[in-house]
Amino acid sequence: MANISTFDQGPSGAKPKKFITWERFFVYSVLIVCALFFLMPLYIMVITSLKNIGEIQAGNIFVPTMHPTLDAWGKAWNSACTGLYCEGIKVGFWNSIKITVPSTIVSIAVASVSGYSLANWPFKFSEMFFTILLLGSFIPYVVMLYPLVIITRELGIFSTLPAVILVHTIFGLPIQTLLFRNYFASLPQELFKAARVDGAGYWQIFLQVFVPMSVPIFTVSVILQVTGIWNDFLFGVIYAGPTNYPMTVQLNNIVNSAQGGKAYNVDMAATILTGLVPLTIYFVSGKYFVRGIAAGAVKG
């Protein structure tokens, strides 16, 4: 049948592809319109931060300035006021570094060892603890907020750097443990068995066999933790104490302190500066970032 009909219709062979079909046109227009929606705030942030305040009040929010200036960036970094001090957002930047680096190291150290135990050295109830952790990751933070205030207060570290590091370790643990547990469970068993036969113990196998093979998963987990901790606001406000407020909190204070009128250009410059670290990580390590959120979401 098919042969006869094609014969009747004349030209044979594959139908030449049209350069553009309506379907393609529709797909690309939806994708481009959405892309513009997602890009628009970034564009507005950047062009606003390059304007001076007069241009902002007179001009259109979408139109870039003809005379870009980095004054607002300098002001945001060095001298913007957070209510009490006028030292700019650089204070918050260094505080965020002080919080993020140790929190990331501690939480990954604890989580990788726990994940290794769960995957390779299960013990009675080890899965129960893991289930508690996973369920705990869905419980609203506010439920654990007060108990953690009490714990840190009684340990004598409330309102200090160690408190916020402890809290980030606690709340980062579920997802990180899941990540490492699933990764170690996916490694070939023979490897573990061979190491056991050779007489290696718990720590030897972990440090000499597994860790060197696990650079990708450590990368994923560092990216997840650094962006997560950098972007945190609530724990920084409650546990870090005013002298250690992270960058997100300082940004909020800068925008909300309306001394001498609102300086939208400085606000936007401070906003970009706060978003710059996670954004850089995202653009440099796109593949690992996606892997991290997918691994965290699709549970084993």
Partner: protein
Amino acid sequence: MDTSSSIGRDSSIPYNRNRPSALIALACIAAAEVVLWLLWANSSLTSLVSSKVAVALMFLLVPVFLFFVYDAIWGIKARSSKAASYPMMLIALGVFVLGTIWTVLFSFTNIKILPLFTPGQWIDGYVGFANYKRLFNTDRWMNCPGLTHIGRAGWKLSCTGALPNMVTYAVLSIVISVSLGFLLAVMIDQKIKAEGVFRTIYLYPFALSFVVTGHVWAWIMSPEYGLQHSIRLLGWTSFTFDWIANRDMVMYAIVIAGIWQGTGFVMALMLAGLRGIDDDIWKAARVDGIPAWRTYIQIVLPMMKPVLVTTFVIVTSGAVRIYDLVVATTDGGPGISSDVPTRYIYQNFSANLGQSLSASTVLLVGMAVVLIPWIRIEFGKKSQG
């Protein structure tokens, strides 16, 4: 994940065999904690032991001690493994389990300052459901004047307050971000050019914090110099977009910001789900002459149920936690019209602790309503396979 590949287990034993006993053990630990704590209530120990020791006992030592008891009874190997897992076990029991129990228990008391774990304080302060009654009588938490008749359109249930705001945000952000995320994933799945570029653009807001998101959108939506001002400059002088300053619309403004931040994440999950669908399904559908859009809706979507459910749970738990986004976008304003539970709870921190704790418990119960069906799906599936 193939859990049966774990080493150290006899692979002939089904993996789930000890789950029921694990749950019983959890219940026992929780019960033992409560009993110990109540016993301790009227003992003279309360005054003797300094507060630090008391907290250490309640939070750290008791669960560890109980764990050792179980350890002895059940006889376990892998000592280094257990020793190395103590931080994890302490956090699971001491923070997640005990912390939750503590919050729920003290929501039934009239405490004003943060107490310790002294049961005496709990017994002295016990007031039953009084906090909950007051909470739901507080307009700032929830105010439902009831059904209002709005002409021919029918009836409208209008609620204001922190809890209804959160529900509005949760429902809208789930519906919009899941449908938009799925649509984008399907579009990206059409073997388009520059796929990576589009994916990168959709996902980058997810790397930014809610504080950054909130401030950018507050600036864009600001009626003074933002979008409204700019469109009016172009000549459309009656154009109005003042949601952020409008009591009735402010939550929708926050939803816009939330969707911008979170849709890329949903898209990434959906795309992973789509890519996981077997090619043979597509071939079979094509052979049968089913149009692509119908294949997506009637075949692929039902097959992606696990991904959809997981996405739903994650997006919901994020929406229940909403705080930074509101603080940055409107700080609860205008007035308190965009207040949300976490903000309410945080602001009652010092003045009205009982209210805070009962509000937290309400959120916990709400989350449990979402989580329990999910757990049944997840764990039911595993025990079958």
